[in-house]
Amino acid sequence: MEKYAPTTKRAVIVGGGLIGVEVAEMLLTRGISVLFLVRENAFWGSVLPSDEARLVGREIVRHGIDMRYETELKEILPDERGRVRAMVTKTGEEIPCQMVFLTAGVSPNTGLAKASGIESDRGILVDRHFRTSTPHVWAGGDCAQHREVPPGRRPVEQVWYTGKIHGEHIAANICGEERPYLPGVWFNSAKFFDIEYQTYGIVLPEPKEGEESFYWEHPAGDKSLRVNFRTGSGEVLGVNVFGIRHRHVVWESWIASRTRVEDALVDLGAANFDPEFFRQYEPEIVAAFNSRYPERAVKLNTRKGLFSAAIAKLLGQSQLQTA
């Protein structure tokens, strides 16, 4: 890529997801203009709710990238040396470019496993101990597919940290320990140009039946927070935060202990992990929540940081557990 960068004026990225954004950032540092083709009508629409997808889309455009939604690649045209000259969209538009990146996603390469007679579906099928159908053969990471899908997880987990945990489990199990895979609360993070994203628990693009979804966005459109909770009981199910850093242990504990959304919002300061002197948005978030759910209205009372009572409680618990 570095070799071709100096002669590339425009590059096209096909597929709106995390890898596409990383490629786009890299290309911009080399002074290459970028055209981003996304099949859906919003960025990373298979994962993000539409509000957040739009927020990220705006950030991408702010950095000078040409975003084209609902546009797909039809073919890539070569020049006489066999290098990329242009690409054609499904609507027939021909766009001159010197590089094309296909970033549609990751899929397990099961060729070797299938040829060896190891049971596979989308990925290589494994039990809770990462054993495949063939004795002494184990699979983990991006290529593995859980036969019993752990609650709140996907059958194929394609995140680096789950791969690391899979590997640790496989090593333990090979060494004779019986260590089943019992993943805790889901989490993930990313950075889209200058906007950081964290998620804890489950937030689907559309809330499921019996779920409420509360969304707050800063008027500047570069910070947001979404909390999903169960209708009625109010237990928190998941959170998406953009542009504000939140504390892993706090949300994990709230989600695992089925904390009510009201109780979480009262202590929202405890979840704030932004550096000192940063503006805090908890009062605005809670005010927005109260106006949307007057029957659940709460009063914010926890300040940020390790002095907060909510964190002290959590840390106290963790020390008991350690002891």
Partner: protein, 456 residues
């Protein structure tokens, strides 16, 4: 791609827009800056011969060019980009990644310090050029230390403004840099000048013992006490600063209250030196050398200060030995280490060579921070992706990532709390926090760190 072509491609992107392409305004800024420097250089040879009015004019043009050009370049460079961390060219740029330009600057800086400390006569013209400013601020002609203070203060102010533009997405960095700039200008430049003008001792209230190694020497304190009420205030200030403020503030906020908010050495490192902060050595070996060196200096200065207080009751031969010890400390540590190496080696070894390997004040603050403080850098659960930006940008050579990957809090004697690791982290993993000392080490152990169930 083999190694040869990999090397070539790196070469190529310092030419293509890999790094930062200079705009017309930035070129103009650098031009102005260069003209200002040239006038200063010309002053070296001519200023002794011209009138005071002429010197005032040329001095104004020189510093106007340096400050104006530096600001034009520095502010335009960062304000033309969106707020946020940009790593472009950090590891490949000739100036900041130990290329020929970096080495040239290191030689120039070192040469300047050698002249300043041991051959000030070579700077005579430059010193005479500063007479009008010194007369105005201090009521007497300039000396080499006034010239040095002017360089130092302009460096912190201009590069501080650039640092604020560069890190303007972080309010911690904005507030901290403003305080550094104000402290330098007020406590380390204007106030000492005012003291001189009022015929009081020239005193730098922001430098405490043992960084300012003679501040608690009996002779120094006696000198201050002879200066009347202001002298008593100064003595009180330094005694309280060392014995009370240091342990109390370090207990509540960590070493950073001094090293990253007050100290001029840290101030210069975090403003003027910011482009080179990533060049610090992160190896385990460097850490071992650091601990031996910094604590040796600490033992030397503490022992020497104590002996000086008992000097009257010491035998004759000890007196001579003590004087020699004092002279060697001044030469080796006070001048050669803190000045020549400390700043001269910025472009090669990163910005905190002195703070990390030599400063006895940093050693004391470090021990307090390590063993008796509420400060720590918290790691946010298991969100670390091992990108290494935190370690790369750590000016103290701490391998921050090592801790972040393991979900451990970072509690290191050397951490000056500049906050850059938290600023450059792309996943919101690090935060500088003050909190209860219970569970300060590794407080998240026991919580399902890696997404595993707690029952295990």
């Amino acid at each position: 791609m083999n190694d040869l072509t990999a090397g070539l491609s790196y070469e190529s992107h310092s030419l293509t827009p890999g790094g930062h392409r200079l705009t017309v305004l930035e070129k103009a800024g650098l031009g102005l800056f260069g003209i200002g420097l040239l006038i200063l250089a010309a002053g070296l040879f001519t200023a002794s011969d011209v009138s005071s009015e002429a010197r005032m004019l040329w001095l104004g043009l020189a510093w106007g060019g340096i400050a104006g050009g530096g600001l034009l370049y520095g502010l335009h460079k960062h304000l033309s980009e969106r707020p946020g961390i940009r790593n472009h060219g950090k590891t490949t740029d000739n100036l900041t990644a130990r290329g020929a330009l970096g080495w040239t600057l290191a030689v120039l800086f070192t040469g300047f310090y050698v002249m300043l400390y041991w051959f000030p006569g070579m700077l005579a013209g430059l010193i005479r050029l500063h007479d009008p400013l010194s007369e105005f601020l201090r009521g007497k002609p300039a000396d080499q230390w006034f010239v040095y203070g002017t360089f130092y203060t302009v460096g912190i102010l201009v590069m501080g403004a650039k640092a604020i533009a560069k890190y303007r997405h972080s309010r911690y960095q904005i507030v901290r840099t403003c305080v550094i700039m104000a402290t330098q200008l007020g406590f380390a430049y204007l106030l000492p000048a005012l003291f001189v003008k009022l015929n009081q001792p020239e005193v730098y209230l922001s430098y405490f013992w043992p960084l300012a190694y003679d501040k608690l020497f009996p002779g120094t304190l006696q000198g201050f006490l002879q200066a009347g009420n202001i002298g008593c205030f100064i003595v009180g200030w330094f005694v309280i600063g060392t014995l009370v403020a240091t342990p109390v503030l370090t207990y509540y906020f960590g070493k950073r209250w001094y090293c990253s908010w007050v100290c001029g050495c840290g101030g210069l490192a975090n403003t003027f030196g910011d482009p080179w902060r990533q060049n610090s050595d992160k190896s385990l070996k460097a850490w071992k050398i650091e601990r031996w060196m910094i604590h040796s200096v600490l033992v030397w200065i503490v022992g020497m200060t104590a002996l000086l207080w008992f000097a009257p009751s010491l035998p004759e031969f000890m007196q001579g030995f003590l004087q020699t010890l004092k002279q060697w400390y001044g030469f080796l540590i006070g001048a050669a280490f803190a000045g020549v190496v400390g700043v001269g080696f910025y472009p090669l070894m990163g910005t905190r060579v002195w703070c990390r390997f030599g400063c006895p004040m940093a050693a004391i603050l470090g021990l307090l921070q390590r063993f008796n403080s509420r400060f720590r850098i918290t790691t946010n659960g298991a969100q670390c992706i091992s990108c290494g930006n935190c370690s790369k940008y750590c000016e103290m050579g701490i391998d921050v990532r090592h801790y972040a990957q393991r979900g451990q809090n970072i509690i290191r004697a050397s951490c000056v709390g500049c906050g850059l690791c938290a600023a450059v982290c792309p996943r919101g993993v690090l935060s500088l926090e003050n909190g209860p000392t219970a569970g300060r080490y590794n407080h998240i152990e026991g919580i399902s760190l890696l997404g595993e169930e707690k029952s295990r």
